[in-house]
């Protein structure tokens, strides 16, 4: 089909010079098929938080692309990420979303896999197999690399992928540092999951989207659920990192941070839109951890490809379920020592802001599913999409700390960076090629 041609040629989907995007990347099934191979099967993917696996045998089920994986802690305390498919006939060895187990016993013929995926028992190994089966060769498929950064567990299926910390780079690490700086985190029981009829990338690009708030979430603002100045402030900061990571959203000046510090001590002075955020940067150790620029950013990090870290206590994974469907998985993380009242308030906010019944998020799905629909029409499909907001009007500022960033107003730098990087991932035939040819973080005018 044309689909195939489209996907295999080298036409640029995204034109960096104009900020224009081809709609078909949201609707072409062949492009989606390639994404599973070229992006999800290669990238470091978030699988769970360490606190979800308290003991040996604790497991949490997740996906890498559409491959179902089990994150499980083994007897050595190490976390393994296993492909949930038996080596004998391919049956699932685990069907629960989470729980605890001693091993993974296949329900078809009883091959039994240890918590680290090793095949440890085969019924009739001697009698039927005459010991002619090399158990070492037939364990469960495993992630090629598993690593954890500040308690956030990632895995890649590609042995040639760079180490996690290199993959994240300073921007990805900073993104995680921002939520990690809340304290010693643990996941609150209950991952919200729901399914949207949209392409996964539309859900991802929305996390940088501080432009939609006033309209998409107009009703929430109008009833005063959230103050507009805080929900869509004008002063914005964008930080872009290699391989597509980024952080975009509200930013303040050092002066504003200091103003809040003084005011919060003295108790004298007008409240400001950034108070709730600034409060979380008072602690010098936090400022230390985030650096001079990071400390001033209250944006949304995205760990490429699909992990959104919110400003407060949640992260949201955008799980692809076919070209036109995406699941949103909301994890809520709180400092273990958070005072009960603060904890109760934080959970209230988490339960009522995002998720399928969230006062804000209710209205997002409708827009994303219709944007996906708008990428399908035989003729509509030919019309370009405009991702040009602010293009060519901003400048990347360097910093002695090395924390380069763009300080500006509401913009689409994050979205453009996402698709520019996405295109490089899609065109590279291997990690080697991607490492060699991907764009460095932008500098100068953007």
């Amino acid at each position: 089909m044309a689909a195939t041609m489209i996907a295999t040629d080298r036409i640029p989907w995204y034109d960096a010079d104009s900020g224009v995007l081809d709609r078909r990347i949201f609707s072409d099934p062949e492009i989606y098929r390639q994404e599973l191979q070229r992006i999800f099967a290669r990238a470091w993917n978030f699988v769970c938080h360490e606190s979800q696996l308290p003991q040996s045998g604790s497991f949490f089920m997740n996906y890498i692309g559409e491959d179902q994986v089990i994150a499980v802690r083994d007897r050595t305390g190490a976390i393994n990420v296993l492909l949930n498919s038996c080596s004998h006939r391919g049956n699932s060895v685990c069907r629960a979303e989470q729980g605890r187990t001693n091993s993974f016993l296949c329900s078809y013929h009883g091959w039994n896999y240890d918590l680290d995926g090793r095949l440890v028992a085969i019924p009739g190994q001697e009698a039927f197999y005459r010991n002619d089966v090399d158990k070492a060769k037939w364990g469960l498929g495993k992630a090629a690399q598993v690593a954890s950064y500040r308690g956030f567990v990632f895995a890649t299926l590609d042995p040639t992928a760079p180490p996690l910390e290199d993959y994240l780079g300073w921007v990805g690490r900073l993104g995680i540092d921002m939520i990690a700086s809340n304290g010693d985190l643990e996941v609150v029981d209950g991952v919200q999951k729901n399914r949207l009829k949209c392409n996964w990338k539309l859900a991802v690009d929305n996390l940088y989207d501080w432009y939609h708030v006033k309209i998409s979430h107009g009703s929430a603002l109008r009833i005063g659920y959230a103050p507009e100045e805080a929900m869509a402030p004008l002063s914005q900061m964008v930080i872009l990192g290699e391989y597509g990571h980024g952080i975009g959203g509200p930013g303040v000046t050092q002066a504003e941070l200091d103003e809040y510090a003084t005011r919060s001590k003295s108790g004298v002075g007008e409240p400001k839109w950034y108070d709730m955020m600034a409060a979380r940067r008072l602690d010098p150790r936090v400022q230390q951890m985030l650096g001079p620029v990071g400390a001033r950013s209250f944006g949304h990090p995205n760990i490429f490809p699909n992990l959104w870290i919110t400003q407060f206590n949640q992260i949201c994974l955008r799980v692809p379920r076919g070209p036109y469907e995406t699941e949103l998985w909301w994890f809520t993380l709180m400092p273990k020592d958070l005072p009960e009242d603060q904890r109760r308030f934080a959970i209230y906010m988490a339960n009522h802001t995002f998720g399928p019944a969230g006062l804000l998020e209710q209205d997002d799905g409708e827009n994303w599913s219709h944007s996906t629909r708008g990428a399908k029409g035989a003729v509509t499909q030919r019309l370009p999409l405009n991702y040009a907001m602010g293009r060519g009007h901003d400048r990347v500022q360097a910093d002695p700390s090395g924390q380069s960033r763009i300080e500006t107003v509401v913009n689409e730098h994050g979205q453009r960076w996402t698709y520019r990087s996405w295109q490089e991932w899609m065109q590279a035939d291997s990690w080697q090629e991607l490492m060699a040819h991907h764009s460095p973080a932008p500098s100068g005018v953007v």
């Binding site: 729980g99 309209i215 929430a220 909301w330 998720g355 019944a357």
Partner: protein, 177 residues
Amino acid sequence: MSAFESLDLQQRMLLTFEAEEFLYREAGLLDERRLDEWLALCTDDIHYWMPIRRTMNVKDLDSEFTKPGAMAYFDDDKRTLGLRIQRLAVGRAWAEDPPSRTRHTVSNVRILRADANEILVALNFHLYRTRLDSEEDSWIGRREDLLRRENGALKLARRHIYLDQTVILSQNMSNLF
């Protein structure tokens, strides 16, 4: 509360009918989008709660549902329910304009406990929603509703919603159950 079973058949029947009459009227208000009237049927201390259900192995079933105080899909007091309803009135509630067409069907209504002031009811619900030209959702499960008499009339004092789905197969839950 005294055991409902202690009542005789005729009494149980009457009480059950009274509960059904209330529940049907209340469901009708939701379907007819008369949400302010619906809210007026709730007591000031209502707890409206839908925990998160997980697919669990038999041995782990005790944690199939999240507990109160943990994450949930709904965990509302009257004020929060009011916000949901107000949201639809102020415009820009895009998920509901054009409005969803809902049908709240209530069946297998069973009284678990009752006394002079309160009736605790268990029931099966089927919330059907259709939107635009062909979107359809069905949410099916069990509910436990606490009805309380306030100056003569029944009011909804508690609604605990146990959905049968684990992953919510809908783009949102912009409607009340």
